[in-house]
Symmetry: C2
Subunit: 600 residues, 2 copies
């Protein structure tokens, strides 16, 4: 089936009609690329995703990895897919030529990632985590560590993990207990337990490099005393080859509801006091190093949620066109033929909502990816500062909004399939289970709300907000047709209200209203992110209207009409839901703040 994941027409629209990704080729870093090379890489990703990742997505779900006490086993298809991926050079796709990379923009890497994430998020996790860990090593580690690990990670001979969470502490990294004792040779001995470590054990690669947060005894309390270590599964011999088993053991596999193909592990470091770790960068800077990568990681989570949503959307769309049931007016007689269910209004509602959620989330996260590329390549330092401020501000939205609405899309896909959607004979239920992880990991959406309202808004003296508002206002002015102007006007009204809420929040955070405000932080995230996504949809609508004026062919015209329909749906159906949140925030509604534990 052509276009069974993300239609190329859609990807082309986002990259070249909305985001102007081709402009990146004018930057020195990307000067050897052009639209043709971009598309060739996406072609390769699409083909690999469809041929090697998609076919075993459900098989891996049904046959999750097992641990016999010594070794983790999984179906062979995962290794086959992983090997082809790494041999194609994708892990290093974004890295410098001098690292053996392809020096591709993050935006193009994420365009590719979309196909893998829609096809098989579980198998995709192994190389993606490796690239993320390699990125930390590249930017923060000493040459010695880089020499030991980087090129082998970029080739996929070694894989990587991020080992942050501990059983007792969860999201509260201040409370981690894993410790790292300095040794005479400059290395450290690591001791502690980590949990929910994705890709923490498997036989896909020759070695696994865990990036472990731990505390060096005597350091500051809380987050200020966290350091970052590279802890390999196998220590390297003098030739840099993995040899002796390091004292990192798999305490057990965790059995998840979804994402079952990815091993989720409980790891024990230093059970025999012989776990060698190597400090990355300076002591006590571990969290800062991790957070250098956090914007990108959080965009990745949101984007993945949109892509899993997209898979379900496309499947339910095909189903709705194909499946006949009931009658559509005016042919309502028993002897009339049953009609494809897409002709039932409520089914179209569920399809249009999915389109609005998934293409909205996709466009949002590709926008975020472009900001990362611009940040990396912009030569004007003032502009770079602006981009950085905007990126920081929007990161909670990139993470939280699609990870809330991607699963909602999957829920609607199940509903369209009805009883069939509830069975494991169809793929939509797995999409829904897989996607449920995304509101949880990389900072729960509750934490994102606090991060936005309590911190990000006010960072850099609130300049990120100024940048955002300038950009939104510019697109509001770019709405030239009556349809787009109607949308722009609605968004304007909500933006004015949002401005008032932010002003009020600035005052309340310093008063005794702080508690109720932060308790209701999710309402603020709703208002803020719905405005942002409405803007993302207005941008798409503006492009579509302009394209329609140029009298495109029939298929393109339908495509652009679909964009307008989804934009109108979003701004007329989804944005007004935040009226509730606005009222909650304005009235400082105290129900959740006041309710006492004993009342439950």
């Amino acid at each position: 089936m052509a276009d069974q994941l993300i239609p190329r027409r859609e990807m082309q629209f986002q990259l070249y009609e909305v985001l102007n990704t081709q402009a990146l080729c004018e930057k020195a870093r990307f000067e050897e690329h052009n639209v043709e090379t971009f598309n060739a890489v996406i072609d390769m990703a699409e083909k690999m995703a469809e041929e090697l990742f998609l076919p075993h997505n459900a098989i891996a779900d049904k046959n999750e990895p097992t641990f016999d006490g010594t070794k983790v086993s999984m179906i062979d298809d995962v290794k086959k897919a992983f090997d082809t991926y790494r041999e194609s050079g994708f892990i290093a796709g974004h890295f410098d030529y001098e690292d053996g990379g392809m020096q591709l923009p993050v935006t193009i890497m994420n365009a590719c990632a979309g196909y893998f994430l829609a096809a098989n998020p579980s198998s995709t996790a192994y190389p993606f985590l490796t690239a993320a860990a390699a990125n930390v090593i590249k930017h923060c580690a000493s040459d010695e560590i880089k020499n030991a690990f980087l090129s082998k990670m970029l080739s996929g001979d070694f894989t990587g993990t991020m080992a942050l969470t501990e059983p007792h502490a969860g999201s509260s990294l201040a409370d981690i207990r894993t410790n790292a004792k300095p040794q005479a040779d400059g290395s450290y001995r690591i001791k502690g337990s980590k949990i929910y470590i994705s890709g923490g054990e498997h036989e896909l690669s020759d070695n696994i490099v865990h990036l472990v947060l731990a505390k060096i005894p005597g350091g500051p309390a809380g987050v200020k005393g966290i350091s970052l270590f590279a802890v390999p599964k196998y220590r390297l011999d003098d030739n840099g080859e993995p040899k002796e088993r390091n004292d990192v053991t798999l305490a057990g596999l965790i059995h998840k509801m979804g994402y079952r193909g990815t091993t989720s592990t409980a790891l024990t470091f230093g059970e025999n006091d012989d776990c060698h770790g190597y400090l990355i960068g300076e002591p006590h800077q571990g969290l800062r190093y991790m957070f250098l990568m956090m914007n990108e990681a959080r965009i990745g989570v949101g984007y993945g949620a949109a892509m899993i949503g997209y898979r379900g959307y496309r499947y339910s769309l095909e189903y709705a066109k194909d499946r006949t049931q009931g009658r559509a007016a005016p042919n309502l007689a028993p002897e009339d033929d049953p009609t494809p269910i897409i002709n039932h209004g409520d089914v179209r509602r569920m399809l249009l909502a999915q389109k609005a959620y998934c293409e909205g989330g996709m466009s949002l996260c590709l926008y975020g990816s472009t900001l990362i590329d611009e940040l990396e390549t912009e030569e004007d330092s003032d502009k770079r500062t602006e981009i950085s401020q905007l990126l920081d501000l929007l990161t909670p939205v990139f993470k939280a909004w699609p990870s809330e609405f991607g699963p909602k899309a999957n829920d609607l896909a199940i509903q369209i399939l009805g009883g069939a959607g509830y069975t494991r004979e169809y793929p939509v239920e797995q999409c829904w289970r897989d996607n449920r992880l995304n509101p949880i990991h990389e900072g729960t959406n509750g934490i994102q709300a606090l991060d936005l309202l309590g911190r990000k808004l006010w960072q850099h003296q609130g300049k990120g907000l100024d940048v955002l508002l300038r950009r939104v206002t510019s697109d509001i002015h770019n709405a030239k047709t009556p349809r787009c102007q109607t949308l722009a006007k609605k968004l304007s009204g909500y933006l004015d209200t949002l401005g008032g809420l932010i002003e009020q929040a600035g005052v309340d955070l310093k008063s005794d209203k702080q508690s109720v405000l932060l308790t209701n932080a999710s309402c603020f995230l709703n208002v803020f992110s719905s405005c942002v996504v409405s803007w993302i949809w207005l941008r798409q609508a503006n492009v579509a209207e302009l394209a329609l004026q140029a009298t495109p062919g029939e298929m393109d015209a339908d495509f652009y009409q679909g964009k307008l329909a989804a934009a109108e749906y979003f701004i007329n159906w989804e944005l007004p839901l935040v009226t509730r949140d606005i009222e909650i925030l304005k009235s400082q509604e105290p129900s959740c703040d006041n309710v006492k534990p004993q009342y439950f």
Copy 2:
């Protein structure tokens, strides 16, 4: 753990403080009962649910029934639980003494059902379906059929199913193809395929009586030509014992995402042209007979959704009190102790929302159950008519609202547990998977919306709505304290708006606006059911305020404060969400109606 399912304090509140269930004992039908006998039955249900149903809920999920081509196997615990249930006489609980029943009110049977549904919805399905099928036979079948099947079903020696859906037709019963050819002996030969038949095959009982919708050749087209048949798995010998295998075969088990302990089957009737079926009642009246039971069945689905939601709510509540993570103001220093997560405002929000959803859904469906009891026992025929009209009108709400919000509650329970909630080591993810069935079966929620807006509102010349509004208005007047009056006033405002929407809908349904109105029917269902559930919460708040004035003990006072908090949460946080729906309906927003299939 005491009260691990539904706290008895909560059940007592609903039954005896809100619904005045004890008043039913004044009716002749229930005159042998009193609060003590009611509570004794609930005690028994609670104990049985906790001891025999709850322990194997996760085990049955992990070890779903299998079919070896001849026989369906499942874990032994299911039969043990089923046998104890049937031996306790619960299947016949609501039936007449003369049928061997306990002649208990539906309200009390549903109070009991709550414990089973929260503990283990899958194993509960077998006896519940049997009682429902027996109910149809009792009310619609000839004495011959009753004599053959009824008492054996009520004892659980035989079980029952409802075989409506066919693979090609889904919800469109007009299009079923299963046919029934009359035979000289008065029986019929059934031929056709059914799908998603719960409990369609197993070894729990000596026989399975399928209630099958089929068409007698030569009958009217569409739904008017549907008849109902009793089709046993084994035909009975002259002594009424199951003997020869009837020609009903299991084409296969369906593998569901949740509810895995209940066999879901594809059944073939008459593969060898020898499937004997027995007409229930008159020919071509099959759908009417099924719909006689539909109000009760749909309340059952909604109630089950609320109860599965409740299980997750209680679990996440205990978790939130127990699990420490992060700090709460003013003790924010690293050296301060971590705090139970219930002290984080956003966690309390997620708990309060769950409480509002689940206790709202529970109260709503127990209210519906009381209507059924009143309908059965009211002697004044005018009053009986009113009750019947109200019951018809509210049935789509009883079914759809809790089946939308129960899963939402389960989603929040997962979020509170975070990473742990996403694993199969904790029960909340199973609750979420199990509950996802409820918006689909017994008429999808999209169908409920159409049923309400297109049919139920206008039935009986709209008198159901009059009855509802009188009752709501009465409770609005009963709001005597400032807190309740504030809630009542808000609800009043929405009711006025709802009245306007209904007036408009009456006009639009007869105009060219019909299509856009029905496409947006889900918005109407949202407005209508949110008003109804707000009323249900106002009723609870009124009771709580009155009780608080009587200065109850500390634990009771906390309980009533919790009721007020949840009522305020619901009316301040959930009801205003329908502002969006009101706008959609008022403006006849055309996005979903206008979007063309080729735009997707």
